[in-house]
């Protein structure tokens, strides 16, 4: 396993920057998630690490050595594509053994490695099938097995769960995490799904418009976002941002306390009006309009159904958030500032 470092990497397509000066490190054995909306540059960054795209500027180091001029096969990486890219004319067995064949391994050695990888992923019974005869989850495991047999230094995964249905995605996510933990492999995972990112990553690198917004643990990203983009991109519903005293006050919907008796908590309080209440089974979303000197702001509160709801729709209320749950951002730059 090895550490992957990206130094001031830039990539432009026809003068338009796709990746714009990103610096990050994936430590040895770490599961690093690249998270961001479509077009943010996360896949381009992954492809540059893989050697499928050439950076316009900057350097990429794997295991401390620059790999910028090296082709993919010399980088000791393995990649799982979004579409899995299984060779449709080859059986599962030949799909998995192809990388070993390309290396010039003997038939016996290839067979041993294939059996080992298939056993690890539980696909021994699928070896003679063709990809078109496999389900989405099975194809994903075959793609992982093909990556695994090369015994790479780094695994690169490009949204491998995006083609699976929601129910399968949850179990596949667990399998992926267990797979990575078993191998203690350095893994860089690209996704636009924050649930995947929060569930899988040891650390998350949030990107937007080709730039790194923040890198940190899921807890840091969620509770201490570095700017308003991270604050509103991560979390569903997103963090509420209310202008007050020339800055933006941010708080998560689940940290809101509502009252009609004027009770205030230590922290911030806002006079508000209840617009609507949605009952979603285990949670309740309360849509509020917060009145302010700089105009009204719509805010969402998320309360557990088990909690007693102190407000009704179309009623005035008091919204409070504890100090420790508050984040402050510069109104112009969106960057995080001190309390």
């Amino acid at each position: 396993m090895a550490e992957v470092e990206v130094r001031d990497i830039r990539k432009a397509f026809g003068g338009v920057p796709a990746v714009d000066g990103v610096n990050l490190v994936c430590h040895d054995g770490e599961y690093l998630v690249l998270l961001g909306p479509s077009g943010c540059g996360k896949t381009t960054l992954l492809r540059m690490i893989a050697g499928l795209e050439h950076p316009t500027e900057g350097d990429i180091l794997i295991g401390g050595h620059s790999v910028r001029g090296l082709p993919p096969r010399a980088r000791k990486i393995a990649m799982v594509f979004q579409s899995y890219a299984l060779y449709p004319h080859k059986t599962v067995e030949h799909n998995i053994s192809f990388p070993l064949e390309a290396q010039g391994m003997t038939k016996e050695e290839r067979a041993t490695r294939v059996r080992w990888a298939a056993g690890l992923l539980g696909i021994e019974s699928l070896l003679q099938r063709k990809p078109r005869q496999l389900s989405g989850g099975e194809r994903q495991r075959v793609a992982l097995a093909r990556a695994l047999v090369r015994e790479p230094q780094v695994f690169l995964l490009d949204e491998p769960l995006s083609n699976l249905d929601a129910k399968l995605r949850a179990s596949a996510r667990l399998e992926l995490k267990q797979f990575q933990q078993r191998l203690a492999a350095s893994t860089i995972y690209v996704t636009h799904d924050q649930v995947e990112a929060m569930g899988l990553g040891d650390r998350i690198a949030v990107l937007n418009l080709g730039r790194l917004q923040q890198i940190g643990t899921p807890d840091e990203i969620y509770h201490r976002p570095a700017n308003t983009f991270v604050a509103t991109f991560v979390g569903s519903p997103p963090m509420n941002l209310v202008p007050r005293d020339g800055r933006l006050v941010g708080f998560r919907p689940e940290n809101v306390r509502l009252s009609t008796d004027g009770q205030r908590l230590e922290g911030a309080s806002f006079a508000c009006h209840v617009i609507r209440i949605e009952n979603l089974g285990s949670d309740r979303y309360v849509y509020l309009r917060v009145k302010g000197d700089e105009g009204d702001t719509n805010v969402i509160a998320k309360l557990a159904v088990a909690e007693q709801l102190p407000v009704k729709a179309d009623e005035d209320a008091q919204l409070s958030v504890e100090q420790r749950h508050l984040s402050y951002f510069d109104q112009k730059t969106g960057g995080r500032i001190a309390a």
């Binding site: 060779y87 990388p99 090369r150």
Partner: protein, 322 residues
């Protein structure tokens, strides 16, 4: 006032009287097609089918029937014209030009299959790499394809002229006095013609294959690169197999081009002196002064049977995929 509309159940159909045999009601066949659809469908399928039968299968069947006769194209065909298998017997055992023509067609097929078609595929693979000037190269290679084979033949006839032609002069053979009679020497003229035919064939195959290459999923090639395969390994292990449907088309097109070779050889020297081909024999026998329509038809039937082989392979593949 209450609504007095009754909601009585609709009257029941009359039940047969006790003791009477119940005759089942006629079942109505339901169809998704309206009468207008059916008429339209009949016209859209019927007209091309009729034209196909009249213009292609009709003459084909006629040729097959004529191959058993000695009809000379004049007057009616009577039972006296029927000669059974004599035309075929003569063709295989007595007609001195048949086996040379058959061999030449075979050489044509081998040349296109082993040289011209692979070159076209190679150019397609190279141009698929999006090198600088790729569009210029594509145009250059494709330009001969827009020319008819007759024009190709005329162009190359000029190039192969012994003393004034470009080729002998470019090779310095005119100056050195070692002039090669490319089209007159029966030992080499077939290969000279094949060079001319390849000039056009390569561009044709290149464009077909390039279109196929563009449809290959790029992630498969990238996966092969990441898996450690070289470009050659990627092509033969991934790209080529994935393009199986295009490969079949290429093979069939090559076979058909080889079997129907006619224009260039005919325009050079009417298919004589080493340029005999089955298609030229058909023309020479059926349409010449000899008017051996029956015999010419027999050669045409042989050519048809040979042509059926690649066609059947292609259709089998298409039907299997369907």
């Amino acid at each position: 006032m209450a609504n007095t509309t009754t909601n009585a159940a609709p009257a029941r159909a009359r039940q047969p009287e006790a003791g009477a045999v119940a005759i089942p009601a006629r079942r109505r066949r339901y169809t998704l097609l309206t009468r207008h659809d059916k008429i339209l469908l009949a016209l859209m399928v019927g007209i091309p089918l009729t034209l196909d039968v009249i213009l292609i299968w009709g003459p084909t069947l006629a040729s097959i029937l004529l191959s058993f006769t000695n009809w000379d194209g004049v007057g009616d065909i009577t039972s006296k014209n029927f000669v059974g298998l004599k035309n075929y017997q003569f063709m295989f055992t007595g007609y001195t030009l048949f086996w040379p023509a058959f061999t030449h067609n075979l050489i044509w097929l081998l040349w296109l299959t082993l040289i011209a078609t692979p070159l076209g595929m190679l150019f397609a693979v190279l141009l698929d790499r999006e090198i600088r000037g790729t569009r210029v190269y594509q145009s250059v290679f494709y330009l001969p394809v827009v020319l008819s084979l007759v024009v190709v033949g005329l162009i190359w006839e000029l190039q192969y002229t012994p003393t004034d032609g470009f080729i002998n002069n470019a090779l310095g053979l005119v100056k050195s006095g070692h002039i090669i009679d490319w089209l007159g020497d029966s030992r080499i003229n077939l290969y000279a013609i094949l060079g001319a035919a390849s000039w056009r064939h390569i561009g044709y195959i290149m464009i077909l294959y390039l279109a196929g290459l563009k449809s290959v999923d790029p992630s498969l090639r990238e996966a092969a690169r990441v898996d450690g395969a070289t470009e050659v390994q990627t092509f033969f292990n991934v790209v080529f197999p994935v393009m199986a449907p295009i490969n079949v088309v290429i093979v069939v097109v090559t076979a058909i081009e080889a079997l129907r070779a006619f224009d260039i050889a005919f325009i050079i020297n009417q298919g004589k002196n080493g340029l005999e081909l089955l298609s030229i024999l058909i023309t020479n026998n059926s349409l010449s002064e000899a008017s051996l329509v029956g015999f010419g038809s027999a050669i045409a039937v042989i050519l048809l049977l040979i042509s059926m082989v690649p066609i059947v392979i292609f259709l089998t593949r298409v039907m299997r995929n369907a």
